[in-house]
Amino acid sequence: MTQRLRNWLLVAPAAAWLIVMLVLPLSVVFVFSFGERAPSGGYVPAFTFEQYANLPARFTAFKNTLILAPLGTIMALLIAYPLAYQLAVRTSQRWKTLLLVLVIVPFWTSILIRSYAWIFLLGGGGIPALLASLGIEDVRLIYTPFAVLVGIVYGYLPLMVFPIYVSLERLDKRLLEASADLGAHPATTFLTVTLPMSISGIATGCMLVFILLMGEFLIPALLGGGKVFFVGNALVDLFLQSRNWAFGSAVAMMLIIIMLVTVTLYMRLISRLNVQRDDAQLM
């Protein structure tokens, strides 16, 4: 048996699985998005752009997603960066791994359970009751955009910390000392050395979190109470309740397109930033 054939045989089963369970389903969504809804629900073959023209009917879902997903990503970044910095630069080797594992553990436990915990914390008996005892009455948190924002930042924070930690960990600490020795203010050192060196970690973290947030369903379903809903919630409604597969497919395609465009633009921007940094190093 030639080596070539052997490699092919090794790859074949998994390749077949990926094609049947990933390529085929995604192609079906693409084809169905040009179809029509059957009177009893489901799909009738057709070639029409009607479903895409009808997309503004789900404008609110897209608007909420496109506001809260970037906002959640930025909030997560702002909270995660100082923590990742503390862990990578300021923590002794002994505690580093343990503290990092403590950040990652919540991510691998059920996001469903972690999210519904916020129903207690943000609901009447939680933080609002605490505020009321301090004299701040009638604060309503649960089932507001704020609740959803807290939920998504909480849910995806570990995913943001990890790549930033990795990029800061790789940073040569002698660079920071050199910068300080040359009389740079700590803020200058941060802006000219640390931040540019960790840009790849920031980029990875933001991209991962943003992509996952675009498809989020659970957190708005649990903490948005039907008032704050994402594209994911619209998809559940279209596929499981009203069984409008053609329109649902168009909504899903739109979601994929928005994700692809943002990710491509983002990659461009990041590679441009990297190029600039390399130029700076040459000088």
Binding site: L10, V11, F120, G232, I256
Partner: protein, 272 residues
């Protein structure tokens, strides 16, 4: 700075602690602590719906993690020797599988399989004398296992490949020089070295499948897994029993995660 880090940890762990705390409440209210008892754990363990859902979850997680470990490892090993556009195509597929939102995988699998079944079922039935007795494909455990395996095998490929690329090519070359067959080299040299990565991939796949709600929500048909049960319970109103189930699930994933970490760490150390 230290205080800040401490606050973030409080933020990360308060919700988890709250659920664990309320699960030990003796009262009926899910959001108030009234005395201490483990009765809700007893309730949960004796609830046939919970146990049924748990059984389904463990079965699906075990089968899909096993399939994913085998298929993913074979693919990672095979892809090592493949270059060019074919390699680029599969690399892209693996990243798409991991990056695409679960909800899109869920709906896409649902409509694709239902459509395929609608074609296949009448065709199969046409071969049966009694059409009503013909076997019928439908959404259920099978489709759920297939969907989870698709995602987790991509995960295994990524993990195993990272380990494979850190191995020295000299080892396999030495083995070949000593007249070992390619299979012999794989079994005696490569496999023992990548075993920790495969096992870690298995455990992460198991955890993913066990915790997954969104794909199962679309693909499981009328079957109930534990996350689906928990979601519908929350919709009906949270009880301390749900808190008890949640606590047990978190402890179980925590144990699996620690084992996976220990194995990966142990395997990453150079053995001399």
């Amino acid at each position: 700075m230290r205080l800040y880090a401490f606050c973030v940890y409080v933020f990360l762990y308060t919700p988890i602690a709250i659920i664990a705390l309320f699960s030990f409440s003796a009262g009926r209210s899910a959001s108030q602590l009234e005395g201490f008892s483990v009765k809700w754990y007893g309730r949960a363990v004796n609830n046939p719906f919970v146990m049924d859902a748990l059984g389904n979850s463990i079965f699906v997680a075990f089968v899909s993690a096993t399939l994913a470990s085998i298929l993913g490892t074979l693919m990672a090993v095979g892809l090592q020797g493949i270059r060019g556009p074919v390699r680029a195509f599969f690399d892209a597929l693996i990243y798409i599988a991991v990056m695409i939102p679960g909800i899109v995988i869920g709906i896409a699998t649902l409509i694709a399989l239902v459509t395929v079944f609608d074609v296949v079922n009448p065709w199969v039935a046409s071969f049966w004398a009694d059409a009503a007795a013909a076997p019928k494909l439908s959404m259920g455990m099978g489709s759920l296992i297939a969907a989870h395996t698709m995602f987790t095998l991509a995960l295994v490929v990524i993990i195993v490949r990272a380990r494979l690329s850190s191995l020295e090519a000299a080892l396999s070359e030495a083995s070949a020089d000593l007249y070992a067959t390619p299979f012999g080299t794989f079994r005696q040299i490569t496999l023992p070295l990548i075993a920790p990565a495969i096992l870690a991939g298995f455990l992460l796949s198991f955890t993913f499948s066990f915790d997954d709600f969104i794909i199962a929500f679309f693909v499981a048909g009328s079957e109930t897994t534990l996350p689906i049960y928990i979601f519908s319970s929350i919709r009906r109103g949270i009880t301390p029993e749900v808190n008890a189930i949640g606590t047990m699930v978190m402890v179980a994933s925590l144990i699996l995660l620690i084992i996976a970490q220990l194995i990966l760490r142990g395997g990453a150390k150079p053995k001399r």
